[in-house]
Subunit: 426 residues, 2 copies
């Protein structure tokens, strides 16, 4: 930019010297002033960082991935760079979806598919991500602009459409099936779908698509009064689908749109939406990179800082036909699943016996039996280097001490229903 | 911008027509091309929104505060616009502090004081907020640039200094005392200090300043392995200060800096830091605007989605002299505090009896006895409009059902110490 401005000024100088008529000089001075003004405006334009070929763990200020690759040295993630192979679809680029997209972009996700039909308004400025200068742009265009500046390594695909319309749903389905990014991938073309929409109809559309494609997805939501939210993991056939169990708040027999009135809007806070986006993407990372435990359902009540959890099995009487088909497949695959789990466990026990501890083990990282199927154990991260001590009890110790922890682990949907009915009628 | 460019082009056109020599035309064409290039670069420069005189609750797309003012209609906050009277100081503009600053800016906080001595690096890009084009700027300058574009209504003060140096600490102290923003305010010149630093020494400096000024503050932190974090409320004399009880992980007898080695860095994630910033600012809003319950301590274990809470009373043997002085004052003020609490309770019972329900009560908001001292009751937000039903039990019901919830409400610091010792020696 500065170079261009310098050359332009040099040209004008040269022109000025070669013009004999003083009347031209006045005009040239005016032009020079205008160029200066334009230069000032242009100086505020963003500069982009260049693409990075490989993720490096080198600890230098110029490495945008050093703090992420450090997760390997800390014993949290086995192979962080795998993140570049994953595709995540985000439906709804609002207060939660846009922040989720930014987090995944900064984490260096391989590919992001963004879906929204709305435009940026000043009324969105009370949530993170969008800027006042983006007002009037579609949310997808504005997001691509911001995200590509933050991390040019991420492949961004934007779909400006409404998935609840017939053509919108068709485009949504075909975009999820497209496998050009990772041709050898099993199943659909994406690894996970994140639902960040604000209405029941759109959630049901995501549910329908994911049930049809046997696509694992995560649901998220924030209450109308802005002070609570939740995330939920949905694996077709294995967990309850969105039609199996009702959401936090349902429109019972009333068209949802009639509940929205002229001059009335839902409240929202950047805090609640930021927390929900953070919990959503943290569970996404745990699921994709295989560390920690992925929460089946996690609520956030901000007034009391209370985080309810629970599990929901699929409903054998679910109204969604695709869900019933996935349930049947899941039941039929049980023997194969059990055999694979057993073989994996045996292989891991064997490999643990063979591998010696690293000689220069500065972070005290030890290999731990990975017996649980839902992710590696976290004990390795609890080991601290010499000179450091743990001040607080770990979650394990808390759980052991309190067998009656408030975790509603309801295997039986009927049980849950009865509890809810009792509460609602109270 | 477009207007300036148009005028410049018109001037060049006029000059071109008035020049008789064709050799000048070639030069002018070159200038015209350069102007076009410059125009393209300038087109990417941000446009700013203008200041807003009063916070309006009007539901129009152009109102940046409509979704926040809706918190009043939803019965969550009594007077949202009070937020414009508050000053918050944020120490450390890193992965947590910068996001906290953005959240408070988007909420329309009155004044933000920002402290940091560091510069933006590409290695910071795995966390939210800073952009690659800001590399090389001080974090305070980059933050002011971004925040003033997002919300020009917020008064921003930036201090590029290290609070652990003698002169840095003095400037920090005097900036907290300055009362020009709100001359009639009691105590210091700020309403809250948020500590978002990444080392023990800086936390002890914030602790010292707040103990000396009797300043309420909140502490935040994220673990070196990036997968856990915490926030803590510190009220000098009333709760444990940072020197009363050890932090999550302490350097025992070792200089913290010797633990950091060449080529080794801490891991960090935008998710964990985003969640911690969200919990921190949510509790800030609850404290300043008087809704919900402010958590004395809230942990976040992301591997298990576990959120431990506890309370810590001050240590009568604390090594910090200013803390002991605040403890003494707090004890002496007990009779006055009890009398004031009693008077407030009586006044509120009286006013509740007098105020009738609003005739046009479309959101079913009812006035609830505000007997608890730590904020209004939340029951009002649990009342839903017709056609909506609650699907999940509320936190109250969970708590009532599970008296053995994992909340370590240790009134006695000695008890806590014994528990920790038992755990550490296990």
């Amino acid at each position: 930019m500065e170079v261009e401005l310098k050359q332009l000024n040099a040209d004008l100088q040269f022109l000025s010297q070669s013009l004999p008529d003083p009347s031209h000089h006045a005009l040239l001075d005016k032009i020079q002033l205008r160029v200066e003004e334009l230069g000032k405006l242009a100086a505020a334009a963003p500069v982009r960082r260049s693409k990075v070929e490989d993720m490096s763990a080198e600890v230098v200020d110029s490495n945008p991935y050093s703090r992420l690759m450090a997760l390997q040295r800390m014993g949290i993630v086995e192979n962080y760079e795998r993140i570049r192979d994953f595709s995540v679809a985000i439906v709804g680029i609002g207060g939660v979806g846009s922040v989720a997209a930014e987090m995944l972009t900064r984490c260096g996700i391989g590919r992001l598919l963004l879906y929204d039909y709305d435009k940026v308004e000043l009324a969105n400025m009370n949530r993170l991500f969008f800027r006042p200068d983006q007002v009037g742009l579609t949310k997808t265009d504005a997001a691509v602009q911001t995200l590509s500046d933050i991390n040019p390594d991420v492949v961004l695909e934007s779909y400006t459409l409404n998935i609840t319309t017939v053509t919108g749903f068709e485009t949504f389905m075909s975009s999820l099936k497209k496998k050009s990014f990772c041709p050898n991938k099993e199943g659909s073309g994406v690894d996970l779908v994140l639902s960040c929409v604000d209405n029941y109809e759109a959630r049901m559309a995501v549910n329908q698509a994911c049930n049809e494609l046997s696509q694992t997805w995560m649901e998220s939501g924030v209450s109308e009064d802005a002070v609570s939210g939740h995330i939920q993991l949905l694996i077709p056939g294995e967990t309850a689908c969105f039609a199996c169990a009702p959401p936090l708040v349902v429109a019972s027999g009333v068209d949802e749109r009639t509940l929205k009135r002229e001059g009335v809007c839902a409240a929202s806070l950047p805090t609640t939406m930021g927390v929900v986006a953070g919990l959503l993407v943290q569970n996404t990372l745990k699921l994709l990179l295989g560390f920690g435990q992925v929460s089946p359902y996690l609520g956030y009540n901000s007034l009391k800082d209370f985080f309810p959890t629970m599990q929901m099995k699929p409903n054998p009487q679910c109204s969604n036909v695709a869900c019933l088909k996935r349930q049947e497949e899941y039941m039929l695959a049980k023997p194969a699943r059990d055999a694979a789990a057993k073989a994996k466990m045996e292989a891991e026990v064997l490999s643990t016996e063979e591998v010696p501890l690293h000689d220069d083990n500065e972070w005290n990282i030890s290999v731990v039996d990975d017996v649980e199927l839902d992710g590696p154990d976290t004990r390795s991260s609890d080991v601290l280097p010499e000179g450091l001590t743990h001040e607080l009890p770990s979650a394990d110790e808390f759980h052991e001490a309190t067998p009656d922890a408030p975790v509603a682990d309801n295997d039986d949907l009927e049980d849950l229903r009865r509890q809810l009915e009792a509460i609602n009628s109270a």
